[in-house]
């Protein structure tokens, strides 16, 4: 079971992605991915990466596996593994 902290972090990342892709607040969840979000395409991913940089700082630009993240869960896991969140 996810802790309250985890849920807050997940919600924060979902919010960043929603903003980046001009989606309604609360419209995506940790289970969403490129397959379920039409706007998360090869150009949409640039907006997501830009928004993550804005939130978490320039150190995220050296995370090589972040550009190939396929889902919200992937992003959360990658950021956690690099101790960004």
């Amino acid at each position: 079971m996810n802790s309250k902290v985890d849920i807050n972090i997940e919600r924060e990342v979902c919010g960043i992605i929603e903003n980046a892709l001009d989606l309604e607040a609360g419209s995506i969840s940790i289970e969403d991915s490129k397959k379920t979000i039409e706007q998360w395409d090869s150009l949409g991913v640039l907006s997501i990466l830009g928004a993550l940089e804005e939130k978490y700082g320039n150190e995220i630009t050296s995370i090589n596996d972040l550009p190939s993240a396929e889902s919200v869960k992937d992003i959360v896991e990658i950021l956690k593994s690099h101790k960004i969140i």
């Binding site: 039409e38 706007q39 395409d41 090869s42 150009l43 949409g44 991913v45 640039l46 907006s47 990466l49 830009g50 940089e53 804005e54 320039n58 630009t61 050296s62 995370i63 090589n64 972040l66 550009p67 190939s68």
Partner: protein, 327 residues
């Protein structure tokens, strides 16, 4: 001894491909999502038999005509391209002959993409400062469209073809070109790549099936590189030149796409009024993008004599470069 940019001209192929054209051909491409990210609504594309040298010749002839230049006075020709006419010889030699430049002209290609213009300026400026040359023709021309697959939604909506000609001459005052910051990171060589040689127009149909002869672009990885490297490059140049961001009157970045420039502007906290954007009707023209942007800046009277302009190129290689020019 110093070097200065005396004149810039550019040439765009006649054929214009708009987003509407692409949408008709690819109904599944949603331009309501694409256009706000790229900021590009149209691009110029070469005809099947039109090569990079043709674009370079057109732009050089325009420059000669406008400035009434004797071709005999050119003593070096640098051609920046990643879409040369042949594997060998160097296209610059072909251009020397086609443009009627004297055989005493030093002619060579620079195989670089989005950073090429900065490298070209650095080499030209060094040749002049070193007393090797006095009047240099720096040509940039790209036909990336020949590498791009018809079904590649990202690359096809971004890239356009173009040619430019820049005249660089000896100057007696120090209000000129430089200093420079240049860099490379070959670890990212495969992030923008055409794995096998594409010989150009004649064999295009046969090659269309071979994905190794098509452009592969990892846009997300390149974007990360840009966000990481470009701000550092700008700050290094400011430090090297003992300037601050406020001292720079205008920033002319490689015209990659809207989303790329938006994020550079955000990270560096630049004033939008100090950043030129000229990609809308031309797209990303690789090595030609900065000289085209500079000419657009001049045509739109956005700069005045003495203004300090920072030029920043970045991309395929991975490679980057920045310099200051005093207009």
């Amino acid at each position: 001894m110093y070097a200065k940019i005396s004149q810039i001209e550019y040439y765009l192929p006649q054929k214009i491909v708009t987003n509407e054209d692409l949408a008709k051909e690819n109904p599944e491409w949603d331009f309501s999502l694409i256009e706000p990210k790229t900021g590009i609504v149209a691009r110029h594309i070469t005809d099947r038999h039109e090569r990079a040298s043709d674009l370079a010749v057109r732009s050089a002839e325009k420059l000669f005509q406008k400035r009434q230049i004797e071709t005999d006075s050119i003593d070096a020709l640098i051609f920046c391209t990643q879409s040369p006419d042949y594997v060998l010889p160097t296209t610059a030699c072909i251009l020397q002959d086609r443009l009627g430049l004297p055989i005493s002209t030093a002619a060579f290609d620079l195989n670089l993409g989005c950073s090429a213009y900065i490298y070209g300026l650095a080499v030209a400026s060094s040749l002049i400062k070193g007393g090797v040359s006095e009047r240099i023709l720096l040509l940039c021309a790209e036909t990336y469209s020949k590498y791009v697959s018809d079904t590649d939604r990202t690359a096809r909506t971004i890239f356009g073809d173009a040619g430019t000609a820049t005249l660089i001459e000896r100057s007696n005052n120090n209000k000129s070109i430089g200093p420079f910051v240049l860099g490379s990171d070959g670890k990212g060589y495969d992030k923008i790549i055409v794995p096998e040689w594409n010989l150009g127009s004649d064999n295009n149909d046969k090659m269309a099936e071979n994905s190794n002869r098509r452009l592969y672009l990892d846009g997300a990885a390149i974007f990360m590189f840009t966000m990481q490297r470009v701000p550092k490059c700008v700050n290094e140049l400011l430090e090297k030149s003992k300037n601050t961001i406020d001292d720079v009157d205008l920033f002319v970045f490689h015209q990659a796409t809207k989303v790329v420039i938006d994020n550079i502007v955000r990270i560096l906290s630049l004033e939008e009024s100090k950043v030129f954007r000229g990609y809308e009707k031309i797209g990303n023209t690789v090595s030609a993008s900065i000289p085209i942007a500079l000419k657009q800046v001049e045509n739109q009277n956005l700069i005045k004599r003495g203004d300090l302009i920072m030029l920043v190129g970045f991309g395929v290689g991975l490679s980057w470069g920045a310099c200051l020019i005093q207009w």
